[in-house]
């Protein structure tokens, strides 16, 4: 970590002269995510990916407009909504017009709400919120707004893709759904239930339950229940320690079927599962790495690994975020009038290095892209995670996943 990227409150406190004047030569992007505390590893890796993407995909290629460069500034929100709102204010004061965030839907909800209010109340310093990872469906449905763009598929879309894959697997007759007791866990649970009922009415949901988030010490009783239910497959939206604890308990209890997950890869998780999770852990995500989809992608991953040997290119949507923002700024001809940039982003189609096209659906500002189901293995792995030898191998691909998912978004565009 170099200190130069750590802008923040100190400067804001010291400088009473408000720093709203934009520098003509840089486009500042505020990365508001945890950089300290228990989620710092994920946050720091994300920041590294953003800075690397801005550097190699924009700045090294001559920047945007008349050579303006991207600068990604890290703001530590300690994964707290309150802290995020303070950091948002600090970022805006420093002339930031683009905010990227991804960890925790709770924070994303707070941010999108705050940015909407800010833009209404301060028309001369409006900002865009580029959400690269928070997957609560509400963000592009009932809580959608004009300033928010999501570059990841949301929970329901991912479940749609996942159930498409499960539906084709005739060996699966019984499915157990388990998740953390909060909005996202509940969304995953109800989506799994309704979508499976529609696509494969013969599949029995033998369990659909929630456990307290971050509080469970031992997942063994859950694993026993899963075993006792004679489930053929498990679906979970768990992340972090809850994902690892649950996965480990299920595997330890002798479960051999697939465990479909949203977040069981990278950030130490792949290394921790190791041999035990081989051919069992599945992951639904965008952005394939094994086999490498395009030569650019391979080159990009290698360059990244050369710079950050301990890091992972775990969130390929980050490159899409940066590239699409650059394109939109070019198209709008301005980096300061974010309304124009947002308009350019709407409906944009982008050929991604990860294969396929990313389409920013104008109705709800939701990216539509290819989704893949990966399997955790060490066979045929070109690029592993956590330097563990294990990586995520593409098993099946769903083209333009969720392109037809309906949205309840009632987009209000500023007049």
């Amino acid at each position: 970590m170099h200190n130069t990227v750590r802008y923040g409150l100190g400067a804001a406190l010291a400088m009473s002269v408000s720093a709203t004047a934009l520098f003509a030569d840089t486009v500042k992007i505020a990365f508001i995510d945890p950089l300290s505390g228990p989620f710092a590893a994920t946050g720091t890796n994300g920041l590294n990916q953003f800075q690397f993407a801005a550097e190699t995909l924009v700045n090294d290629k001559g920047g945007v407009l008349d050579g303006d460069t991207f600068e990604v500034l890290g703001f530590d929100n300690k994964i707290s909504p309150k802290e995020s709102l303070i950091q948002l204010q600090v970022a805006i004061d420093q002339g930031v017009r683009y905010v990227v965030q991804g960890n925790s839907s709770g924070v994303a909800n707070a941010l999108t709400d705050a940015i909407d209010k800010h833009n209404r109340r301060n028309p001369d310093s409006q900002v865009l919120f580029l959400n690269y990872s928070a997957v609560d469906p509400a963000l592009t449905n009932e809580k959608c707004n004009f300033w928010h763009f999501r570059f990841d598929g949301h929970a329901d879309m991912k479940m749609d893709a996942l159930t498409d894959v499960i539906a084709q697997d005739d060996s699966i007759k019984k499915v157990y759904v388990i998740g953390q007791d909060y909005s996202f866990g509940k969304a995953v649970g109800s989506a799994a239930q309704s979508m499976l009922a529609e696509k494969r009415p013969d599949i029995e949901i033998v369990g659909n339950e929630l456990h307290p988030i971050g509080k469970v010490k031992d997942f063994t009783p859950y694993a026993r229940k899963i075993q006792a239910s004679e489930a053929d497959a498990v679906i979970t939206g768990n992340w972090g320690a809850d994902m690892y604890g649950l996965g480990k308990s299920i595997l330890d209890n002798g479960f051999e079927g697939p465990i479909y997950t949203y977040y069981a890869a990278a950030d130490g998780m792949t290394a921790a599962f190791g041999e035990a999770g081989k051919d069992s852990i599945r992951l639904i995500s965008e952005g394939a790495q094994n086999p490498p989809p395009t030569p650019q992608a391979a080159e990009y991953i290698e360059a990244f690994k050369a710079k950050y040997p301990d890091g992972n290119v775990s969130q390929s949507r980050i490159t899409n975020t940066i590239e699409m923002l650059a394109k939109a700024i070019e198209e709008a001809g301005t980096a300061t009038d974010v309304q124009k940039v947002a308009a350019a982003l709407e409906g944009m189609e982008h050929e991604t290095m990860w294969g396929g096209t990313v389409y920013m659906r104008p109705e709800d500002h939701q990216a539509i892209q290819n989704m893949h189901v990966f399997v955790h293995t060490n066979d045929d792995i070109t690029y592993d995670y956590d330097n563990s030898g294990y990586g995520m191998l593409t098993e099946s691909t769903i083209e333009n996943a969720g392109a037809d998912t309906p949205t309840t978004c009632d987009m209000k565009r500023p007049s």
Binding site: P38, F39, A40, A41, D181, E209, L210, H211, P212, G214, K215, V216, K217, D218, T220, P221, Y222, R224, K225, Q227, A228, A241, Y244, G245, K248, D252, N253, G254, D267, G268, M269, A271, A272, G274
Partner: protein
């Protein structure tokens, strides 16, 4: 029925693990009046030390070396930290251990980073001891049970059959008298603190591979440990044991069976409202036991403190 047996075993493992932590804590608490908030942090240190040692010398050396190391560290904390704070009273002592817990977590993150450590069971124990209805009981769990039972017996022996144990027992009930009798109470304090933290260390060593060795492991277990000794009653080793097992089984069974609030409410005679959405009671009706399994001990503790402030087996007030 088979599942009941499996859950009994699982609950026993959880309970005994909790007991190893609470045994040390209840000794420390009742002798010194200090609620050691950092107790679970020593448990975490046990796991990390053992992991580090196991890389070079294997699991068994870790089990042998890490707990004394943790105990030594604990004794040091007592000697150079707590003893100093002791003169200011109980509240600063509590706050001291609270701060210590924060600091230890930060130090662990500084040294080992924030990700989980690949700390594994020894290969010799990586097999399934037996299976009940398709549920495998790993040999390691059996090992955990035996280790904790052995520690309990050893502790009981020391406390009831040796001179040191007599002094400690006396100090549990009459701290002032023991001092008056001319025993070196500060030394006894330091010893008890060291042994208590070493016990937490043992718990960490053997729990690390099962419950994951990560910087949050102390927080996850932290407050549950006090809850245990408060429920069990201060200064009572048996109380700590009973409360640990009670919590172990309570949480395991609550997780293992979906007891739904809806069934209870209908059983009591309420009828579920037709339009449940957006009703104030929606969340209550949809509540299930796994959702609240891990907060049940807190509920139990509050109830116990309200109705029986000295816990199940305690003789004096908390």
């Amino acid at each position: 029925m088979d599942l009941v047996l499996v859950n009994l075993i699982d609950g026993l493992v959880t309970g005994l693990l909790l007991f190893m932590l609470s045994a040390g804590l209840t000794l420390i608490f009742s002798m010194m009046g200090v609620l050691n908030f950092a107790h679970a942090s020593f448990y975490m240190l046990g796991a990390y030390f053992a992991y580090q040692i196991s890389i070079y010398l294997g699991f068994w050396m870790g089990l042998l070396i890490a707990p004394p190391l943790v105990g030594l560290l604990g004794a040091g904390v007592e000697r150079y930290g707590l003893r100093r704070v002791h003169q200011y009273g109980h509240v600063p002592e509590l706050i001291f251990t609270f701060g210590l817990a924060l600091l230890i977590e930060e130090v662990v993150q500084f040294i080992w980073g924030r990700n989980a450590m690949p700390y594994m069971e020894p290969e010799i124990l990586q097999f399934t001891a037996f299976s009940i209805a398709g549920n495998s009981i790993p040999a390691y769990k059996i090992f955990m049970i035996f280790t904790s039972v052995a520690i309990f017996i050893a502790l009981l022996f020391v406390l009831t059959r040796t001179r040191v144990g007599m002094i400690i027992q006396a100090a549990l009930s009459y701290p002032r008298t023991v001092e008056a009798l001319g025993h070196n109470v500060p030394l006894v304090f330091m010893g008890v603190f060291g042994v208590g933290t070493a016990l937490a260390g043992v718990a960490g060593v053997i729990a690390g591979p099962v419950l994951t060795t990560f910087p949050g492991m102390a927080v996850v277990l932290g407050s549950i440990v006090f809850v245990t000794i408060v429920i069990g009653g201060l200064g009572s080793l048996w109380g700590a044991l009973v409360a640990s097992l009670l919590i172990g089984w309570l949480t395991t069974f609550a997780k293992a069976y979906n007891i739904r609030m809806e069934d209870i409410l209908t059983g009591v005679g309420f009828t579920k409202p037709e339009v449940i959405w957006d009703s104030m009671w929606q969340d209550l009706w949809s509540l299930t036991s796994p959702q609240i399994a891990d907060i049940l001990p807190y509920l139990l503790m509050v109830l116990i403190l309200v109705f029986r402030p000295y816990g199940l087996f305690g003789k004096r007030d908390v």
